[in-house]
Amino acid sequence: MIDKIARSAADALHGIADGSTVLIGGFGEAGNPTELVHALIDQGARDLVVVNNNAGNGEIGLARLLQAGRVRKLICSFPRSSHGHVFDDLYRAGKIELELVPQGTLAERIRAGGAGIPAFYTPTAAGTDLAVGKETRTFAGREHVLETAIRGDVALIKAEAADRWGNLVYRKAARNFGAVMATAADTTIAQVRRVVPLGELDPEAIVTPSIFVAHVVAVPNPVSERDSLLALDKGLAA
């Protein structure tokens, strides 16, 4: 019987190798698989390449993974935030490599990785510093940039609910990068608030079909990043 519900995050993350590329879902706090990232810290893999829209916030989740010195390179669109001191410090100290990618190009490169498209042309960034050194080509009189697919060894994402096959639904704007990243990794691991019986998810409303998901970890009450940042602010002010 197919059953992708893992006994623990540790079980699900077992075997992630040093040097892996890890896709991490989320935009701001929404869709951030904080508990899986903490389990990745415990798991111990080093020298990681991380793909995320941002660069972590405060000192939980991705920020904590960075703080632990596990990330060699970050591929993201917006590594600045009000609580971005962990990444800022590493970057200024030259301790982390940054590949800055326009947000839509980042999403599309990941989508291409999942869809078997090795490369595509996009008008985004043509004529800008972010296209320097990239191959360009004119279509219909307009310059386009050749961009290549991004794939992960692992994707860590957060969804709302899953069944034992690994079908996923998300909640509101928490769908963001997770639903794309789920398609583009050798092993996709989803933390979910609820595990539901097979057949309960509406087949018309499933966002990530089972084929994309390897392991599901139930995290009924994930940490609130906002609360964590408020606590951090209070601590800093104290």
Partner: protein, 211 residues
């Protein structure tokens, strides 16, 4: 010389598919693989037109022309199934998410080339999803009679018909044997009961050998 029946061929094909595999079955004989899922295993069937978790044909009174398979015949959806659009469906195929596809074939060459879309003899050409499956599925397997109805070999040194994909087939299930394209010959993995290697060789237009 008898070899395997169609159902035995389908069962032999199914026996090589792992529990939990995502499987795409071509139209015709490959569809029969769904009737032979080994006990204790679950396969999840993908259909190009946007279905994962495809179930068997419904009773006549439950037929729904908005729930059809790639062959445009009414099917059902099993618990856990999902619907999606064509671009997402072929992203699954092209992106290497389908574990196994079982296709029919006009010809297979010993270097793994597959011909199953064009008989090359005029008429209206049609390709459908054959090339996408040949290029994208993690394992492309062929289920076919060993020879044409006229007795001509379908397993060849080189294709004579237009290719669907090059170097893509990793295993062939026929009424006589299970074979693997091995470059300059077909490796015979298993012979049907009562079938000799010589009988297979006589009906194959490429060298064959036991491993």
């Amino acid at each position: 010389m008898t070899g395997w029946t169609l159902d035995q061929m389908a069962a032999r094909t199914a026996a090589d598919i792992a529990d939990g595999a995502f499987v795409n079955l071509g139209i015709g004989l490959p569809e029969r693989v769904a009737d032979h899922v080994p006990a204790g295993r679950e396969f999840i069937l993908h259909s190009e037109n946007g279905i994962l978790g495809m179930g068997p044909r419904p009773a006549a009174e439950d037929e729904d022309m908005e729930l059809i398979n790639a062959g445009k015949k009414p099917v059902t959806l099993v618990a856990g199934g999902a619907f999606f659009h064509h671009a997402d469906s072929f992203a699954m195929i092209r992106g290497g998410h389908i574990d196994v596809c079982i296709l029919g074939a006009f010809e297979v060459s010993c270097d793994g080339d597959l011909a199953n879309w064009s008989t090359g003899t005029g008429g209206v050409p049609a390709v459908g999803g054959a090339m996408d499956l040949a290029a994208g599925a993690r394992a492309v397997r062929v289920l076919t009679a060993h020879t044409t109805k006229a007795g001509a070999p379908k397993l060849l040194e080189r294709l004579t018909l237009p290719a669907t994909g090059r170097g893509v087939v990793d295993r062939v299930y026929t009424d006589l044997a299970v074979l693997e394209p091995a470059g300059d010959h077909f490796r015979v993995i298993e012979l049907a009961p009562g079938i000799s290697l010589e009988e297979v060789a006589a009906r194959t237009s490429a060298p064959v050998s036991l491993p």
